[in-house]
Symmetry: C2
């Protein structure tokens, strides 16, 4: 069969060699003559997987001392609540920048544990840009933002400059570009974009946050529970952690985040140039805030829809539909998507 160009927004493409190794481990893991998914999570073979996964996150993102990496369950959606519980402090107040669907959901959970100050929002403009020129209150316990907005195709180009603790949901751009982890008190990300398959969420927790005055937190939502047990308080999502580890190994072998960032810049530049130069298309997001991960665009002439979509199908391009809340098209160009696939898409756009 011919190759599929997979632009799916997540769960998304991962490297072929990761699929191959994962597939083999389901039959026979580490030559144990047992499947990866039928062994105890307390066995030395699986404990080694968990430890390598945690340590690859630290290595690839240059995580400084004083931070703990956790692989948990529940998705970023449960992360919204865990963030609120673990970050709220004496002020009983948090600050949020609202840049889309996911940050809206995040701040909704924060309202359960304290006052929420939405200090900036692009909601009235259909979240088509990243707000600028906001003031960060000094009496909030933390500032939360979403680094990349998958649905609208916007991305922060700079880390907000703040004196209060900083939290970021990096679900859709973690491992795609270099970041200065030392600026953050908490980073979290659902796996199913650049890290691995759906089913686990990575948390990078500054240990210091546990030392503040904290509210009562249910056991499973408390980072302390998981830090004390090396991310194995209860049975972890074995397969999702294993495949994340394989994928992070692949990233390391291919030059790490610095190298992939260059490829990601190249892919984005190629596609956005076509969107800007081809009068049949227009971009959705403000040019200066365009996401390198998710390019959102529309046809200028809707009557070309059927023709364009039939050409996409012909070219084996998958997953290009925009999110149901925005419509149009969305090309997700995560780490494992080769430049070649973007070129195929651009060729189709040129030929329309």
């Amino acid at each position: 069969m011919s190759k599929v160009h997979n632009f799916s927004a997540g769960p998304c493409i991962l490297p072929q060699e990761v699929f191959k190794e994962a597939s083999e481990a389901i039959l026979n893991f580490n030559n144990l003559n047992l499947s990866l998914i039928e062994i105890s999570h307390r066995s030395k073979d699986f404990v080694a997987v968990m430890e390598e996964a945690r340590s690859l996150v630290k290595e690839l993102l240059n995580v400084p001392d004083g931070y703990t990496v956790l692989f948990l369950q529940g998705g970023a959606s449960l992360g919204f609540l865990m963030t609120a519980y673990n970050m709220i402090g004496d002020h009983k107040k948090s600050a949020y920048i609202n840049t889309g669907t996911w940050s809206s959901k995040a701040l909704k959970e924060a309202a359960l544990v304290g006052e929420v100050d939405v200090i900036a929002s692009s909601k009235e403009d259909g979240f088509n840009h990243i707000p600028k020129g906001y003031t960060i209150p000094t009496d909030a316990d933390y500032l939360h933002y979403t680094t990349n907005n998958t649905i609208f195709g916007t991305q922060f180009k700079e880390i907000p400059n703040t004196s209060i603790p900083l939290v970021a949901d990096m679900s859709s751009d973690i491992f795609s570009q270099q970041i200065d982890v030392s600026k953050f008190d908490l980073i979290y990300a659902g796996a199913q974009k650049n890290m691995g398959p759906a089913g686990t969420t990575v948390f990078i927790v500054k240990d210091e946050i546990l030392k503040r005055n904290r509210v009562d937190i249910p056991t499973m939502l408390d980072f302390e529970t998981h830090i004390k047990k090396d991310s194995m308080f209860n049975t972890p999502p074995v397969f999702a952690v294993y495949v994340s580890m394989l994928n992070l190994r692949w990233l390391k072998k291919n030059g790490g985040v610095e190298a992939i960032e260059k490829v990601n810049n190249e892919k984005a530049a190629l596609l956005y140039a076509e969107i800007d130069n081809n009068p049949k298309f227009k971009g959705y997001a403000a040019v200066e805030d365009r996401s390198n991960m998710n390019a959102t665009f529309n046809l200028t002439d809707e009557s070309l829809k059927e023709k364009f979509e039939s050409m996409l199908k012909e070219a084996n391009i998958n997953g290009l539909n925009g999110h149901r809340s925005v419509g149009g098209y969305r090309a997700s160009m995560y780490n494992a998507l080769p430049l070649e696939s973007v070129q195929v898409l651009v060729d189709v756009m040129k030929a329309l």
Copy 2:
């Protein structure tokens, strides 16, 4: 390589044909030329998986109308908290039977949302039996119990007779025996025993419980959130749901719960007969409360330890160590463990 007899307590053995099909789907799912784990969870191919998994649960357990089946994340450990939030009502009081480690953890979370009445406990006897003769208060919002206690090897042989709503954590014996679901308001179970791999939890929710006066519940912990979205409020743990579906298909093909219950009874009878007849061994749990899933036993003469364990290794028997909190041995005989494996273990015990 010779066959491994996998008595692991969970994650545990699943059928070989399930491993094979899961392994293939990682490379090419439904002939899409895409991996199961790189497609959108909103694609028709994955939505069909989720719907079949939910419907197989209903079919295999004869779930009556008026119940909704959900596949969520977080394990039974998060289920403890979700139970408390969703079941607490006007009485602000719950009743728990404490039969081991997991029920102890469950009632700890319940204390966050109301008063907890521990109506019976076998804690002082090292949880070696199931308490009897307790009184169930009529002013509690619900009664919670753990049907099978993996660590201590005890199992309820009857459903508690109660007029108040009944909740059961069935993590380690769901799908192993027929149950009358209509007696329960809520059943939940981590997948990693008889249902599938680690990474998802099944909830069988009586829709009626959502109609009572309810406390404020964080979005992700509220069953209503997930029921409204057909178990797809956020990205589900795709692989774990898929493999659970394959495993439930296997169970259906092999005669369903009624047929597997007979095999499970046969396996347990074979092993317990050896424990009782062989003076070198003694059982841990009270005879009348013995679990059909997890048989716990000890050597009567500890000096035989090294010899026994070397014979187990020689026979390719895996996962027989008791839980670290109890010691001794634990033979977990979940659905996919063949009678032949129990026979191999019994032969080793005879030969000691």
